[in-house]
Amino acid sequence: MSTLPQTVVRPEFEADDLATASHADVARKLTLWERIVDLDGVRKLTILVALMLAWEIYTRVSGVSEFILPKFSDTAAALYDSLVNDQLLIMIKNSISVLLTGYAIGLVIATLLTTVAIMTRFGSDILSTLTAMLNPLPAIALLPLALLWFGLGSSSVVFTLLHSVIWPVALNAHTGFMGVSETQRMVGRNYGLRGVMYVAKLLIPAAFPSILMGLKIGWAYAWRTLIAAELVFGGAIADTSGEQSGGLGWFVFANQMDMQIPYVFAGLFTVILVGVIVESLIFSTIEAKTIRRWGMQSS
């Protein structure tokens, strides 16, 4: 039998040197300045403006060559100029139409693959083998092959875009469908849902967070692949199909070749703008209207 340690009893004492309690501010009205600083948008806008100012001042003071880093004002002027006079808008349109074509066809193929995969075990094995092999393969590496098979032109770019969209979308949709809980499936069957209705009304909503994740990853890969493809082979692709072709990547590359550095920055700004619009407007809206509203994702 182990002996318990003796309980230590400390002597009682009274602290004599305590100051009298005084009421500090429990709730204080914030000053106007504090309230303004507390606004998220104001702080972020300030940072943005500060960065731009730093850029402008640095280029003016250090006298850095405008071929290395053009002034911010020149870049903004170049952006405005190419939006108004130059063919930047047409190039944006070209890029987006190629992107949408590839994305749409990719989604259709991914849907077919996923359908086969969730219906049979063999199909699911085929999908997982294919995605394990082809998902780590950067789509851009297929571009040389695509050029060989489809020639110079937008069909080669669409082919590489397909590759960049299909695997992430199919992979995520498949895991999403597999993860739908047995309870929810049984609820669906209880309602007498079968076949297409079962998929549309039960599986897709239940797996939507995962499907949306796949769509977002697919978009990110496709956007990067498109810009890379246009940078690399944009010239060749542009030359074959007339003057008013070539996309955003080509705009960046051609202007870099011509040493029109402000226009290079203008092209990069446009790439950022398109990316921000798609990611934070389109996908965020879809998220807010579906999974966040359904309470499947917080914040």
């Binding site: 998220d40 702080r43 972020k44 940072i47 943005l48 071929f67 290395i68 075990r121 063999f122 094995d125 085929i126 997982s128 083998t129 394990a132 092999m133 082809l134 998902n135 780590p136 393969l137 950067p138 789509a139 851009i140 590496a141 297929l142 571009l143 040389p144 092959l145 050029l147 060989l148 098979w149 990110a220 890969y221 956007w223 990067r224 692949t225 810009i227 890379a228 940078l231 690399v232 990547g249 960046v252 590359f253 870099q256 550095i261 290079v264 920055f265 092209g267 990069l268 790439v271 950022i272 398109v274 990316g275 921000v276 798609v278 990611e279 934070s280």
Partner: protein
């Protein structure tokens, strides 16, 4: 006010006896699976069969239809080229070159991301800066920075590293920062209770608690970096002297040695699978899976 609801009369169905039921008969409750069924139930076997089937299709199509090897070389030919170039050619050095550049870029990107996130967690200004910068630069494909990088750093490894840093930094910073922000107050208070402050607090509380999110960032960063590297080497790899794996693919396609293109693609897939399934999977198994944060 008080309206009396009349309840529906319960329907009482007449009793009846079903005459035409056959004798109950116990079916197979447990059947011994046949040998073929047992083999087919092994996951690896089915996947190997699929892989072999695909390779067989490829080989059969190219040989059977006598496809021009310039357009679509057979599987065996591509594999031979791969082995030949690996052991007799300089493919292995090109692979090593690519991986070296990737490690430099990834390491530098992670280091910068760590500094940024530390600043972001310690001050509100830093947090705002991270939110702004990631929102702006994350949608920008890093390969689009390559023309600028070549202007600033010249042709060579340093521009590749710059672009890779850009590919890794924002994905990692974004995920780590949001992971830190979502660490529950309970865990934070436990840390404060233990008297942890500053860097030990981040290392001992925030990082382990946010590790699933950090891992996601690292994986996304790796995927972007790998894609960017191959893309960048496809164009400008030759300029840095030895060139990497992407350059090998481009060179082969320029010389219309399509079997070399396929050999390069095999290599890209192999490296991708190795890093994703061996490296990241193992880290996950040893950390987040072991700690029960992820199944």
């Amino acid at each position: 006010m008080s309206t009396t609801k009349t309840l529906a009369e319960p329907v009482i169905r007449p009793e009846f006896v079903n005459e035409n039921i056959t004798d109950a008969h116990t079916g197979d409750v447990a059947v011994q699976l046949s040998f073929i069924e047992k083999i087919w139930n092994i996951n690896g076997v089915r996947k190997a069969v699929i892989l072999l089937g695909l390779v067989g299709l490829w080989q059969g199509y190219t040989v059977g239809f006598d496809v021009e090897p310039l357009m679509f070389p057979s599987f065996v030919f591509s594999l031979k080229t791969l082995i030949n170039d690996l052991f007799q050619g300089d493919l292995i050095w090109k692979v090593w070159f690519s991986i070296k550049v990737l490690i430099y870029g990834y390491g530098a990107g992670m280091a910068i991301a760590a500094v940024l996130v530390l600043w972001g967690t310690s001050s509100r200004l830093g947090g705002d800066f991270i939110a702004m910068a990631t929102a702006m630069f994350n949608p920008l494909p890093s390969i689009a920075m390559l023309p600028l990088a070549m202007l600033w750093f010249g042709l060579g490894t340093s521009s590749l590293v710059f672009v890779l840093v850009h590919a890794v930094l924002w994905a990692v910073a974004l995920n780590t920062h949001s992971g830190f922000k979502n660490v529950s107050t309970t865990l934070r208070m436990i840390g404060e209770n233990y008297g942890l402050k500053g860097v030990p607090f981040v290392v001992k509380i925030l990082v382990p608690a946010a590790l699933p999110s950090i891992m996601t960032g690292m994986k996304v960063g790796w995927a972007f970096a790998w894609r960017t590297l191959i893309g960048a080497e496809l164009v400008f790899g030759a300029s840095s002297g030895s060139g990497g794996l992407g350059w090998y693919i481009f060179e082969s396609s320029q010389n219309i040695e399509t079997e070399g293109v396929f050999a390069g693609l095999f290599m890209v897939i192999l490296i991708g699978i190795t890093i994703e399934n061996l490296l990241f999977r193992n880290i996950e198994l040893r950390t987040v899976a072991r700690w029960g944060m992820q199944r």
